[in-house]
Amino acid sequence: MKNRILYTLQLADNALIYGHRLSEWCGHGPVLEQDIALTNISLDFLGQARGFYQHAANLFNALPLAEKQGMFLSVALEEKVKKGENIDEDDLAYLRDGWDFRNLLITEQPNGDWATTVARAFYFDTFNHLYYTQLQKSNDLQLAAVAEKSLKEVTYHKRWSSEWVIRLGDGTQESHEKMQAALNDLWPFTGEMFRMTDVEQEMADGKTGVDAAALHSQWKQDIVSIIDEATLQLPEGTRLQDGGKDVRHSEHLGYILAELQFIQRAYPGMEW
């Protein structure tokens, strides 16, 4: 059960951290219409994160006390567990520390310029589309339900980012160069999506999780067809960045959590 919780948290953390990154564009988009588009997408991910966190919290609350203790390193969360309190989606989002987060490194990378945000979205949306399609078949009905609901959103995200890759790649000289540079810069973070951790392998074997490694060839085929249409080149190189799923993160995650969690840490239980 512990691994099912950790697996669910990985899905939740991906959605929360990536959604938070996109929310940083709010008020800073290049044009009003795209500002709103990104805010909408950001809210889609927040909704997905909630679905996964609620499920993880329910699974966690059902555990016997002995198994609850020590699952999270965060002191604030451990305090709640010791007191015998149930936890909820907010606790999992706001009270876990960086070394409890299991999101992919690509989701925490900075927004950079527009091309960087588009490239990150393109890699991740294409992955999500394949991933949620499979997760719909999970024998965990909650995971399957969140996947089914999310798939429609993700289908639109993929369309949005793919069209921007084509528009920038097949645009001006400058936009072409920036788009290519962004694809190259983020390429090393794509490998982690398909490397299976022990937790993921166990979940995939038990038909609860998705065999991400099996999605790689389709993912590559999908991105190559867009990259070709955009007159861009598929980045090369196999030295890939890895670690988010094993709670080893880049320096960026700490800053994200500092902003995301500050209010709840400073004023516990605050609502508005």
């Binding site: 044009v31 009003l32 219409e33 795209q34 709103i36 588009a37 909408n40 069209e163 528009r167």
Partner: protein, 100 residues
Amino acid sequence: MPEQNSNKNEWPLWEVFIRSKAGLDHKHAGSLHAIDAQMAIENARDVYTRRMEGVSIWVVESKHVHASDPDSSGAMFDPANDKIYRHPTFYDLPDELTHM
């Protein structure tokens, strides 16, 4: 409408029409900027249908909309003022009939 030349870098303006549910007609919802028709439809989806306002979207580039001249509105519209017999208000309608 005349082409706006004030900012050549600005994306073209589009008028957006939303059908709120099947069977109703598309109504003008507003306008937005976009590079092409496809982007205009997607921007319209993001800007004007966030709260389930629609099931169908039309967009047309604003420059293709031809408008009546406000200066001639007197000649265009005032003559209808005293022709109340053009309104179908002199018929007795059954109570069950609504939306007339």
